[in-house]
Amino acid sequence: MKSRQPLFHVVKRDQAGPGRQLAAYVAAVVLALAVGAVLLLIQGVEPFTFYRQLITMGIPGSRYPWRSVENFIKLFVPLLITSLALALAFKMRFWNIGGEGQFIMGAFWAGFAAMQLGETLPRPLMVLVMALCGALGGGLYGVFVAALKVKWGTNETLLTLMLNYVALYFLQYFAETKTDWNFFLDPGSARPKFAKFPANAQMITISIGPFNLNLSLIIAVGLCVLLYIYLNYTKRGYEIAVVGDSPNTARYAGMKVGRIVIRTIFLSAALIGLAGAFQASSAGVLSTSITNDVGWTGVVVAWLAKLNTVGIVAASLLITVLQYGCQTASTTYPSIDANFANLLQGVILFIVLAADFFTRFKLVPRGRREAVK
């Protein structure tokens, strides 16, 4: 029977320190890039040059380097806000995977405001109104699910997932229905096509020399700080942590769990809606692919960061660099396209999960153990 001993033995480690965990994550990303390098080599692409281009995002040697940064920010901000908002819901163990739908609703209602009022309101007011409409649209779309869950205990994962498609087809309806009342469409075009927003509905930018700083970045950074404080220092944040940890304990402590769930999910979904409004306003036009999949990628980011606010900033930066870098690098390599970023993203997630396992457990070869004795 001795021969049936397994080769390795899984042994629990002590809680790893933050330094060790960070090292494990960095190692995981490096390993994922190595796996990517192998894939690149198979396609005949020199990985080092590719990665250099990816990381520099084609900024050096560009004729308009600032334009690259501006575009980068346009990708970064929606992902950052969405990930933060999703983490807020996940902290409460509310599995909101409806980021896509809430984002679309935010963008749609912001677009609605833009098309209706864009000509009459001054620009700062117009952007504010769009932001509010987006937040309200997204928030109500999310709070609907929370209310059902609180009232009847429905499964939020299923509902938020299904509502993503409802939102997408809702938007598609307006994109493809050419009639007189559909003010979303460009009247000049024969084919159905979303009209550009009036100039006053375009996102405000602050000029610093040749660079136009998108206002949404400043707001997003502000939101990071606010949410960090909200989650870690306020009573509301404390309630979220308790409800997420143990709803029974929360009730026992006299908390109104239903109210906390509804409030938090409204906030989460409203932030995603806000991200949608910013996206629409920055792009200056609606589109059925307006989400750029942030509702999904945001889930990945939130988990990579373990719902930690600082981690979310880092992880969404990393993912945006990957996506934007791949996009720019792929212009020089015909065999690679932007999907490579998705592939790398998946590999990173898997390896980080594995790294997580190794920060908590270690494998010990059977033989060595006996020797230790």
Partner: protein
């Protein structure tokens, strides 16, 4: 050469991370012998037995079966080698019949459920002298029937070595006596039996030898007839311990909390508490005894405002508290601490720090939008030092503390809030002797301060020593309230199973209604 050991463990070590659960443990049992494995909680008894039953593997050391070294890599290996374990939490499929539960794990039985399985298993159970109905579904069984089924299952698989993990924890006195008869019979048939327990009187009653573990270390094995409770405790704890529980006599106040004709339903909608009357005075500990599921949990939840009340009254200091939200009841000074089986389910947020858990009921009392962690930290420090809680820091998540310390955090917070009624359920559940006595001490100190305490307990010996009065529940009905110093375990045991009803012993007044009741005060006087 002396008689061959049925099983022998030599130099067993096992650690989880940096925590050594077992250090160099030696253990042996002969066929036809009952070995008691004694130790405080966290001393590594269950870990050691799990290595015999194939759930864990030792890091080092050897296991010898009939003198031959064996490797037990899985529960299947253990089964093949004739080692069977009856776990503390039964491993049964609720919706299956008794026979099917046994059939399920039998390798010889093949892929289909044969008709004759009821006969085969029924015969076999009768052969061993058990009285079980093979067609009965597990969810219809009482706790002791389930345990019998577990034992039959183990025997059916041909176990020669039987391990029982705290088998008496869930049994009444009478059921325990029955179990011990079964064990003696199995011993006579030549089985080797290991029984894990921390109840000294049971060790003395049933075992031939006792092995003692302390903090994962093997201390010694002694012959039961040559030892006594005092000595065993010293082995177990490592120093002299006073085994008496104080029952200070305190001046009692008028009733603080009165329960009148209370009816509550459980989660399934069945009546959990049925027209119950009782009252608690300040300076008194009222024990609540009853077998698992007799309605204690629902009663505690109802008093804390967590469970809706079907009918009846709950009067606190003359005010009706029925229908008040948990927060309002809390503010009246009624504290509830319920230690569920998993210890962390209600009352604590396991992933949050000790500090945060201190703030659980009062985070909302400070002004402004922020949580006042400074006060929380100060309180956490105070409770940690007063109750001698072992924790790396105030910021350690509660779930990383050991069971005893978790319970101290919970009780410490409740007492810190200065309640006038404490409802506490199983406060010493799973605690070692030291921690248990620390908790009795805390409760007695509260009692001296004039607090009324409702103590839902498991260990009748302790309740008889600690409580002033004991109320016995059976299927949601009160079987009577007895004075703790006048009653006996046997009497309580009979009441718990419903065989003895003392609720109308005194005919001059209805049971459970105080003479100086505050109900109806100022309106009509009670007749």
């Amino acid at each position: 050469m002396e008689q061959q050991y049925a099983i022998e463990m030599r130099g067993i070590c096992k650690s989880f991370g940096s925590v050594a659960a077992n250090k160099n443990v030696n253990l042996n049992v002969r066929p036809g012998e009952i070995l008691a494995l004694l130790g405080e909680n966290g001393s590594g008894k269950t870990t050691l037995m799990n290595m015999l039953s194939g759930i864990y593997k030792p890091d080092s050391g050897a296991i010898l079966l009939d003198g031959r070294e064996v490797a037990i890599n899985s529960p299947e290996d253990a089964k093949r080698l004739g080692i069977g374990m009856v776990h503390q939490h039964f491993k049964l499929v609720d919706v299956f019949t008794a026979a099917d539960n046994i059939w399920l794990g039998d390798e010889k039985s093949g892929q289909v459920l044969k008709k004759e399985r009821y006969g085969v298993i029924g015969d076999m159970a009768r052969k061993f002298g058990f009285d079980i109905d093979p067609r009965k579904k597990v969810y219809n069984m009482s706790v002791s029937e389930k345990q019998t089924l577990e034992i039959v299952k183990v025997l059916y698989y041909g176990a020669k070595i039987i391990i029982l993990d705290e088998p008496t924890a869930v049994l009444t006195v009478q059921e325990t006596a029955k179990l011990f008869d079964v064990l003696r019979r199995m011993r006579a048939e030549g089985h080797a039996i290991i029984i894990i327990t921390h109840k000294l009187n049971e060790v003395m009653e049933i075992s031939d030898r006792v092995a003692i573990l302390r903090k994962g270390e093997y201390i010694t094995t002694v012959d039961t007839p040559s030892t006594n409770g005092q000595q065993l405790t010293e082995f177990m704890v490592g120093r002299k311990v006073e085994l008496n529980i104080d029952r200070p006599v305190v001046d009692k106040t008028r009733p603080l909390l009165e329960i009148r004709e209370l009816t509550i339903r459980n989660d399934e909608g069945a009546v959990a508490i049925d027209k119950v009357n009782f009252y608690i005075r300040g300076g008194e500990i009222l024990g609540v005894a009853g077998i698992a599921g007799c309605g204690q949990k629902e009663l505690c939840e109802a008093i804390a405002g967590l469970r809706p009340i079907e009918s009846g009254m709950m009067i606190h200091k003359g005010d009706n508290i029925v229908g008040l939200p948990p927060k309002a009841i809390l503010e009246k000074g009624i504290s509830m601490s319920f230690i569920p089986e998993d210890r962390l389910g209600m009352g604590l947020a396991p992933s949050m720090s000790v500090t945060d858990n201190m703030l659980l009921k009062k985070y909302d009392q400070v002004r402004g939008p922020f949580v006042d962690r400074r006060t929380g930290r100060a309180e956490a420090k105070q409770v940690i030092s007063e109750l001698e809680i072992v924790t790396p820091s105030t910021e350690t998540p509660v779930r990383r503390l050991s069971g005893g310390n978790v319970q101290k955090v919970l009780l410490g917070r409740e007492i810190k809030a200065g309640p006038n009624v404490i409802v506490t359920a199983y406060p010493v559940r799973g605690l070692d002797i030291n921690s248990s006595y620390a908790i009795y001490d805390i409760l007695n100190r509260q009692k001296k301060d004039g607090v009324g305490i409702l103590f839902v307990g498991e260990d009748l010996d302790v309740m008889i020593d600690l409580c002033d009065k004991i109320m016995v529940l059976c299927h949601g009905r009160i079987m009577g309230v007895v004075h703790a110093h006048k009653t006996s375990k046997e009497e309580l045991g009979l009441m718990m199973t419903g065989a003895l009803d003392l609720s109308n012993k005194y005919e001059d007044k209805p049971a459970g209604i105080a003479k100086d009741s505050r109900i109806g005060e100022g309106e009509e006087e009670e007749a």
